[in-house]
């Protein structure tokens, strides 16, 4: 290269002061360090947006995909090499809006990926438009008279649509979030953590005080294997519960692909391919 940018690698975060992404990134780093898996076994797939800009701030294998499309490459990476730990960093817009088809379908397949949704209820990098989780009636740049849509309940969607690890955490509670990410990484299947996050610039109303008032820890009697209870909590209107809503052991997608029983796909040697056995029906 003829030119090097005058800064160290990885880059220093460019997020706004007070952004929830700082906390989430630190929680991810801690979870990976504690996981015991070698660093090269991790791949993080980033969506676009403020959260996706984390791609420049971590020293891991990374794939910075297209807007709303971080989940399919993550599933593809896992199919290619199921020895890898695949984490998706994505926002509420990308996961629940633009890429909702992928979200809905890959969770049904129980693809073994950890999906961390940075949920600040706004499109922030595009300067503050409504997102799928914006409260009804909220005035934003794209909805100056207040949003008409009723917000999505992503955790209820995940409960009803067979995700096998469903949690919500708050970006400011780093140790708890980090521990939850660690559990999600170790969970063999589709793990969703909806991470409530402050955007002090484009969503100043939902600040730390707001989250203190509106979130509540799941009751210690909440049983994460009780799907009906998870549904009830996910559908609550009064508060935003945080904690592990639901967890179920079900074979991950790759473990049910018969061709992957013996080794990872990337290790299927194709240096010499003999096709005579495939030709008989064409005679």
């Amino acid at each position: 290269m003829t030119k090097t940018l005058p800064q160290k690698y990885p880059f220093l975060p460019t997020w706004c002061p007070g952004c929830g992404n700082f906390g989430i990134m630190n929680a991810i780093k801690m979870a990976i360090a504690k996981s015991g898996h070698p660093k090269e076994k991790f791949v993080i797939v980033y969506d676009i947006g403020c959260s996706g800009n984390m791609s420049d701030f971590l020293d891991l294998y990374g794939f910075h995909g297209l807007h709303g499309r971080a989940l399919p490459p993550a599933a593809g990476i896992k199919l290619a090499n199921h020895d890898l730990k695949v984490i998706v960093v994505i926002g509420d817009g990308g996961c629940y809006g633009e890429g909702a088809t992928h979200f809905i379908n890959l969770m049904r397949g129980n693809h073994d990926i950890t999906v961390l949704v940075h949920d600040n209820h706004r499109y922030s990098l595009t300067t503050g438009q409504m997102s799928p989780t914006t409260d009804q009636g909220t005035a934003t740049k794209s909805t100056p008279e207040g949003s008409i849509e009723v917000p999505m309940k992503p955790l209820a969607l995940a409960v009803s649509n067979h995700a096998t690890f469903i949690a919500r955490e708050f970006s400011g509670a780093i140790p708890q979030l980090s521990a939850r990410i660690g559990e999600a990484i170790n969970h063999e299947g589709f793990a969703l953590i909806d991470i409530l996050q402050i955007c002090s610039v484009y969503n100043p109303t939902q600040d730390l005080r707001w989250y203190r008032e509106h979130t509540i820890g799941l009751d210690e009697n909440h049983n994460p294997s009780d799907k009906a209870a998870a549904w009830t909590q996910a559908m609550r209107e009064d508060k935003l519960p945080v904690g592990l809503f639901y967890k179920e052991e079900r074979p991950a997608y790759h473990s049910l692909v018969s061709e992957l029983k013996d080794s990872t796909l990337v290790n299927h040697n194709k240096n010499v391919v003999e096709i005579s056995g495939l030709l008989e029906e064409y005679r």
Binding site: T2, V43, P72, L79, D83, V266, K270, N271, I275, R283
Partner: protein, 579 residues
Amino acid sequence: MRIPNTLNWKVGGPAGEGIMTTGLIFSKALSRSGLKVFDYTEYPSLITGGHNTYQVYASEHFATSQYQELDVLIALDKATLDLHLDEITENTLVIFDKEDDKINIEEHGLNARTFNLPMVKLAQESGGSKLMANNVALGATMFVFGLDLQILFGVIESVFGRKGAEVVTKNQNAAQFGYNFMQEHLGQSLMTFVKVEGKNYLTMTGNEAISLGAIAGGLQLYTAYPMTPSSSILHVLAEKAKQADIVVKHAEDEIGVINMALGASFAGVRSMVGSSGGGFCYMSEALGLSGIAEIPLVVIESMRPGPALGMPTWTAQGDLQFIITASQDEFPRFVLSPSDSQEAFELTRLAMDLSEKYQTLVIVVSDKLLSESRFTMELDNTQFNNERHGIDKDPQLAEVGFYPRYQDTDNGISQRTIPGQPNGYYMSNSYTHDDYGFATEDGEIRVEQVDKRAKKFELMKSEILPQYFENNNGEMTLISFGSTKGAVVAARELLENNHNIKVNVLNLSWIWPFPEKQVMEVLDMNVPFAVIEGNSTGQLAKIIRMETGVKVENQLLKYDGRPFYPHEIVKFVRNTLKK
């Protein structure tokens, strides 16, 4: 207007009456008789109902196209007698079942020889069911063409073998009854085809050839979403996945399809996706991702008439211009356009290699005619060696702590690492990035990376294969691409045999990088030339002008969803030359 020692046969009837299987069995019988075949099917986009046809053209020497004038038409319903009047001549033998289909043949006013074959009755008399009536027609067909009935029996055994010996015997008996009935009433075969010994042909549709070519080229993952006429690639590969040791994923939509494949390719797996024009449109954003992140990917685009949903089960060549440029901005890509199953196999296999070698996108263009027609092909060997390209076996981190994945090189191709390798960390980035994949908005780095990728294109030009060219000292040169070659070559033969007009033929199965040198040489021959293609604006002609500066004056364009017929090209050439 036909070539001697050839046969042109069609079976038509309502969907759901086994038209496709019947045609396939006859085609295989011909192939096993040592003849080359070309099979062409027509069907509407319906699950049941509608009119289906299966046409087989066969010849000892070459079979590359469907022809209009039929030797034999098997009509399994009344509609077949009315829908193919322009294919029936006084030399055509029309076979129908008066009793079962309640046909009064006089009503149809056919200027042809007609033959009432009581297919259903004979099937039942032979000890089989009504459903075996088509085998009666097949047995009768074997007699008409003087073919060996035992060869048909062999095909029936291959096709129905897994249903048990009794089913095989009953189908064979029905065929025997048809053969005997025809022998008794027709007396003499219309033609006689003696088995050509020593030939061991394969017959495949373009989609089957694409599938096997990909497998031969080291395919590991195929992802797709069904869309006619590409869907049978998904079906073939899914069915063969276990035997071929590959993974096939029917993903949620075409956007998921291509992004999943790109993720897998990033992780070191040879990946391919397939669709038709509509699905390909969905994919176009991610084509750019393949380009900027330099991720190998093979995309199959099987064209049908459009825009939008167009005509799903018909053919067209109208996506060509879009395919060579689809995506944001610019990056190097290969666009290959095989003309038949042989090339579909070879070029898809090559595509798997090229995509990895150049770390970029390779689009293989097909169309309904190629994808779903059956061609004769031969493979000299069945074992294929695949070299891996560009993966650093022992990566070292640069001083900054990352792997210089996108470092500029003499030819623009950089080494890459795959996740899981220690010391290979980099960012595979859809944003403009530096050597390590880190996003940048720096103008100088941006230019350097654009130029690095562009440099690959210069080397890619060295991969261009010689294109199909017949220099017949012709009065005119006919230029086409992809599947249109078949009809052009057939027309060349008709022109010479029947009209004493010689033409040269240039068919491009390699569109991008454009084979400029060879095309220029042909255009410089000082012979009038014409471009023949399946769209309404002359897209190949425009590309030729763009790349050579030569304006194409003569064009034959067809865009009714039907493939070119050789006689249409003959007429065009005669009109153009005023002969």
